[in-house]
């Protein structure tokens, strides 16, 4: 059991992954600098510049050459420096990375991980607070996960690297510096399994990445008001562990989904649709979504009004309980 930040947990997880000789790390500033968030700190020194590669500044080039490296037998872990900079790589991710296995009738395997720090709340300038997960979750052929805490970070990155499918790996950047005890010995749950992080009976809150903590905060406040909310950390966005959510909702009858991306066609929409299909008679209220508004992410001084917080979650809970 070691106490570590989420950054450090990722670093340790990557370090463990790099023990496999085919694993590579690629990206902008991942080597000498150790990444702008220091997630890859020290890895160049310990594994050398054939394994930890500072690339030219070109996201399409990074993902595209990483595909070629997969084809020649490597398992690259690509870092996209910030969420807003993944879009130049969209063509390589959506038309190539996601489809090449199907294209080849299974002959080709692309075991790539694309790491993306995501979400707002760090007071950054434009393009540094985006939540692009729905684009990739909507893309068949990809797996998409998001960690929310150091322990998951440590294990999930290793599981993602072991997956023979491409995995888009979202890291909650505003939680990077949160600490927790990480048990590097205990066996982790499967990568694509959601986790119930708090039990409750009056309603269910679903979050992932940075909003798991928001849900927990809301649940704590609600408890003081005498309401027991269940909180689920999705962990996996594609595939969704919809069964864990369904089981919860079938007990609580009420569900709110919380994320930072626009609610319009965000994960909340999918979960609402899927849960309503599965729990039509058990739902006491429609599934509600608490999330980003349908406008570009605002400047830092306004982000507190944009980001879903415990208040907004509790408003949704109130609304759920009016039904």
């Amino acid at each position: 059991m070691t106490t570590m930040t989420l950054v450090r947990a990722l670093n340790e997880g990557l370090r463990a992954a790099l023990e496999h000789p085919d694993v590579l790390i690629m990206g902008e500033d991942v080597g000498r600098l150790g990444g702008v968030f220091r997630v890859t700190d020290g890895l160049l020194k310990d594994f050398g510049d054939e394994r930890v590669i500072d690339t030219p500044l070109a996201e399409s080039g990074i993902v595209g050459t990483a595909i070629g490296l997969c084809l020649s037998g490597y398992r690259p872990i690509v870092e996209i420096q910030f969420d807003g900079f993944i879009f130049p790589a969209c063509n390589q991710i959506i038309t190539q990375l996601a489809k090449m296995r199907a294209r080849s009738l299974g002959a080709v395997t692309l075991p790539m991980v694309v790491r993306v720090p995501f979400g707002g709340g760090i007071g950054a300038v434009e393009h540094h607070s985006e939540s692009p997960e729905a684009y990739f979750a909507h893309t068949p052929g990809l797996r998409v996960v998001a960690c929310s805490n150091p322990t998951d970070a440590y294990w999930m990155i290793q599981q993602a690297v072991r997956s023979d499918d491409p995995v888009i790996f979202f890291e909650p950047k505003r939680r990077y510096w949160e600490r927790a005890d990480v048990d590097t010995a205990a066996a982790p749950p499967p990568l694509h399994q959601a986790r119930t992080v708090r039990r409750g009976t009056d309603g269910t809150l679903v979050g992932y990445g940075p909003t798991v903590r928001v849900c927990l905060e809301a649940a704590e406040i609600a408890e003081r008001e005498g309401r027991a909310l269940e909180v689920i950390d999705l962990r996996s966005l594609s595939p969704l562990d919809i069964e864990t959510v369904r089981a919860s909702v079938s007990r609580t009858g009420r569900l709110a989904v919380v994320h930072e991306a626009s609610t319009f066609l965000g994960l909340g929409a999918e979960i609402a649709a899927a849960i309503t299909e599965r729990c039509f008679y058990e739902l006491e209220a429609p599934v509600l979504r608490v999330g980003g508004y349908h406008v570009p992410y605002p400047p830092a001084r306004l982000e507190e009004y944009f980001l879903p917080d415990a208040d907004r979650v509790l408003d949704a809970v109130d609304q759920l309980l009016t039904y």
Partner: protein, 366 residues
């Protein structure tokens, strides 16, 4: 608009600048100081055979398309020298990344012609194993494969594996960001990759001058690696230039860009109507620069081959096309399970759910 057409049949300095030529249009060998190619009669015959088979395969595919056996076809007509010359320069251990028109290259890499046609018939998106053939799948999104090729080459270098990569793309593709990023990655990482641009003068309806203001091969210098223009209808020049570039790559010399100047004699695809955008005289001019005829002249002039040989090649081609016809016609439609079988390497519950629902519905209908 419209490309400048040289009245002269030859592809000479006037039009192609420093285009390397080892076989003049009249079939005579020419020397080039940088590419002292020695080829045997046997090699020349083999190249001829490859080119004829490619052309016949292509013609057969056009027919099969007309008959509805293929949904679409992308003719390679006219580009046989560029494809066979370059492909025969590659070794079995090299890895080749085609675009989608490289049927001659596919043949050289041992892909069964009928297998190649699977994707045009619409039974799959590419039915061969890239590893087996050292020949990647066709890539339709223009330019994307050039980055894959570069990454593959980076991998070869990283492992210290003997071998080089050969990446095909077109004159239109040279405008894509991905291709230029690939040039830069290859240069920075000294990747053993040969970028082989078949400049067939057209990107669907757009002529060269809509894609670039200067010859494409000149692009490489700005990224810090050498390049060469070659007469793309001269199979010997394509062979020599590509072999030299691959050799350089294998020896740690890094990337090379080869621009093979050739011509797309047919429509862009069987769905295209080139009469809307190019003049018949241009096509006629290039018909007179036919790459196969050029090599035939050499074979005859040098007595490398006699009537027997030509008859044998014809028979081989007849056989190939006859077999192809049967194989393509007999190619069964895939079963609906194939929709779901290969999207993921590991189980995916939503896909399983979708597959179960879809297959049940199909079963119920049947």
């Amino acid at each position: 608009m419209g490309m400048q057409i040289d009245a002269d049949e030859s592809i000479g300095e006037s039009e192609y600048g420093d285009g390397v030529q080892l076989l003049a249009p009249d079939g005579r060998r020419r020397d080039h100081p940088d590419y002292p190619l020695r080829v045997t009669a046997e090699q020349c015959r083999a190249l001829y055979r490859d080119m004829v088979l490619t052309r016949r395969l292509d013609a057969e595919a056009v027919l099969l398309q007309r008959q509805g056996e293929l949904g679409m076809w992308i003719p390679s007509l006219g580009q046989e020298a560029a494809q066979i010359g370059s492909a025969r320069a590659a070794r079995p251990g090299d890895h080749v990344f085609p675009a989608y028109r490289e049927h001659g290259v596919a043949l050289c890499r041992g892909v069964e012609p009928a297998t190649l046609m699977g994707l045009f018939r619409g039974v799959n998106h590419g039915g061969w194993d890239p590893a087996t053939h050292g020949f990647h799948l066709y890539t339709i999104v223009i330019g994307s494969q050039v980055l894959h090729a570069t990454g593959y080459a980076m991998g070869l270098r990283k492992r210290g594996t003997e071998g080089a990569v050969l990446a095909y793309f077109g004159d239109g593709a040279a405008s894509q960001g991905d291709v230029n990023e690939a040039f830069n990655f290859a240069a920075v990482f000294d990747a053993p990759v040969v970028f082989f641009c078949q400049n067939n003068q057209w990107a669907i309806s757009e002529p060269n001058e809509r894609q670039t203001r200067v010859p494409i091969y000149q692009r490489a210098a700005g990224y810090g690696f050498p390049s060469v223009r070659v007469d793309g209808n001269d199979v010997l020049a394509c062979l020599a230039v590509t072999a030299s570039a691959l050799e350089r790559a294998r020896g740690g010399g890094g990337p090379t860009l080869v621009e093979a100047v050739t011509y797309r004699m047919g429509p862009h695809t069987t769905a295209d109507d080139p009469s809307r955008y190019r003049r018949p005289e241009e096509v006629e001019l290039w018909a007179r620069r036919d790459p196969i005829e050029r090599l035939r002249r050499l074979l005859v002039a040098e007595a490398y081959a006699g009537d027997d040989f030509f008859a044998e090649v014809r028979r081989d081609a007849d056989e190939l096309t006859a077999g192809l016809r049967v194989a393509v016609r007999g190619m069964p439609d895939p079963s609906p399970e194939a929709i779901f079988a290969h999207a993921y390497a590991e189980p995916h519950p939503l896909v399983q759910e979708h597959a179960a629902a879809a297959l049940a519905a199909i079963g119920a209908d049947a």
